[in-house]
Amino acid sequence: MSDIENPTSRARLRSSTKESVVSQPLLQIRDLTVSFGTGKKAREVLHGVDLDVFPGETVAIVGESGSGKSTTAAAVINLLPGTGAVTGGSVTLDGVDLLGASRREMESIRGRDIGYVPQDPMSNLNPVWSIGFQVEEAVRANGLASNRKEARARAIEVLKQAGLADAERRMHQFPHQFSGGMRQRALIGIGLAADPKLLIADEPTSALDVTVQRVILDHLASLTREKGTAVLFITHDLGLAAERADRIIVMNQGEIVESGPSRAILEAPQHPYTQRLVAAAPSIASQRIQAVAERRGVEHLEEVVDAKPVVEVRDLVKEYKIRSGGFRSEPFRAVDGVSFQIPRGKTLALVGESGSGKSTVAKMVLQLEKPTSGSVLVDGADTSGMSRKEVFGLRSRMQPVFQDPYGSLDPLRSIGALIAEPLRVHGVGDEKSRRERVFELLDQVSLPREVAWRYPNELSGGQRQRIAIARALALKPSIVVLDEAVSALDVLVQDQILRLLAELQSELDLTYLFITHDLAVVRVAADLVCVMEQGRVVEQGTVDEIFASPAEDYTKRLLAAIPGAEIPLGGNL
């Protein structure tokens, strides 16, 4: 499509969009049921889904993991994983029955009529082929080019449209030479290569930083608007859905619970489930989660500077050596002169995007990495000169909770053994008193005692995170380092864990160092915030101050990139 043709075609599209509002929907799903497994073991995961996408419209399906949102999308393009099969209902695209289509017909529909942008840009490009090859492959598979030269020209055009400016040069590069955002651009390019009528985007930006997410989705929106492509957008993020879609469909446990115009859903949710979802979604308009009625939030820095800090970080620097060919290596500053203080019983959030050095700071605080220079002070004592024995003692006062609930518990140990391990290592009490302590900790994280004899793989992500919290609390530490501890959880579970953490904080007078990339979570979970960019602290202060009047451009950009920031949330129960 050349630039000269563009205005006319756009006008034509606009008129056709108007016509189609009164006419037929582009994608029509009626009473769709999907089951996994066969015979006696069959389990229905979609129980009759009705859904319309009109030409040129963006529809978002929102739901937690296991709600069936991705299964719905996979059923449309006939790519259900494993033993999944459609057991009833109909799916039609422009009047063509997709469920009855043969494999060959479906292959020609995929790509040409329905484009697909997958979730994980890291694993959806083949690492052994160049980006150019993979885009050309898509171009040729859809019959858009008859020879090599045409395919190449079209591939460059596609990548340019997707926002990769120097596409000619980039064509020869391999996926590992691309950043996450660039890979996602390439995948969007592949998805839109054949100008499909419908684009299905399954969590297209959930693996990316918020600022990158914003840029990519803006670009995707302008691209699809220009071409009149309808978009079926799958996401777990209500704010993002509201910002990007005309209509929202909320799914829960394989059923649609509510659907309607985006704003209406967010401002006045009707169904109890949607109401809970909206209420649990953290946003910058939310309040700090408070355990009790007392005021916990800190409004001004002055209120806390007098209090003696439990954790103090002074001019922390961490350099890594990066091999630069041969035997030479260059120093790389991952953390560059970071300083902050956390007063007792407060939460400091260390915020930044990937590569900002926030996790490295956490590791140095936890004594898992040695700083290149600078110091970490715990209760006023400098940790850099500590002997092994002193560091061992320090570990009982400072415990971590990690991000991945599936990776942080040894799968071969029972829950009881896992929670008791710190007690055993530090020689606390005898077998019987340790068991009592395990029960006490399970009570504190609201899990039944019989869980102690179970293994981690029987629990959900949120429950595993509770176990990780119980283990961290076993030695009665005063400091807990939460390294993206709620980032992998669904909204409702996340909210629940954040409330649990707030309760434990006020009950046990804990001090939290909260590492996160999610500013909306910071709003509800932290008192103080410290924004990091490329190893440096850009800005720090109380949450109220920073959110009300950010001084630095970077902070402003981060805040602006929070999806759905301007949309007032209703449904607070």
């Binding site: 109890p272 898992l368 942080s408």
Partner: protein, 313 residues
Amino acid sequence: MSSNSTHYVAAAQTETVVVDQLHLSDKKSNLWLDAWRDLRRRPTFWVSVVLCVFIIVMAVVPNLFTSVGPSGAACDLANSNADASAGHPLGYNFLGCDIWSRLVHGTRTSVLVGVMATAISTVIGVIMGALAGFYGGFLDSLLSRVGDVFFTIPYIIAAVVVMSVLADYRNEFVLALAIGGFSWASTARIARAEVLRVKQSDYVTASISIGLSRFRTMLTHVLPNAMAPVIVVTTLSLGTAIVAESTLSFLGVGLGGATVSWGADISQAQTQIRSAPLALFWPSLALTVTVLAFITLGELLRDAVDPKSRAQR
């Protein structure tokens, strides 16, 4: 009829669902329990288990199965290559010894050497692989290169050399040492790769931040989680080790002439292959069945502990 702007609300459920409800099944489950549940439904598993148990019992108490001696006074040249008769179900070999009795008594040598050789190669392999994978750096380079050197030496040839040099000290243990000492490199590679993978887990970092030393972390959290593929390789190499013993005995560098072993029997019987083919057939069958039983067990075990292959079936 739905249109662009309708606001649809599903009928609300009367009960409010608890967020993140705990669903505990009646059955406990972890990697090994799941593998066991998967295995016990498979007939091939039970066949190979019964065979393996049978073979091991035969190796430990051969006299349960035969009262006839395998060699020496029990052999009578008058019975050379004689057919089966009452009490001698498989007949006699060239030297007039009872073939069934030699099979039963030969089991001990074969299985003992096989088990010892496998144990030796597994222990060396796991130690080398775990140290290389867990500590990394220079130690990794050093141990991995040593492993590569051993990888390039065919262990049969190495064992032939060792057994020839140590001709005066030929016994089961030396033979097992010769086989196991040269076949650990592949186990080491697998152990190293697994340890490298497990080392990345958050639970390893978590246990270090609890205060557990690195070495104890390796023992309690890394190694147990890295053992599944190693155990599978172990059962597979048990089969090959038994073959190796037979091969060495066949080549005449195995155990001394007085020792009863399948390999030695196969070696002796091959000269008589035209006149008495059965004398060759029976020890070969015993060897094949034993190796198959162990390898089948190993493969079933591998499939059972690998959730991916389990899902495909």
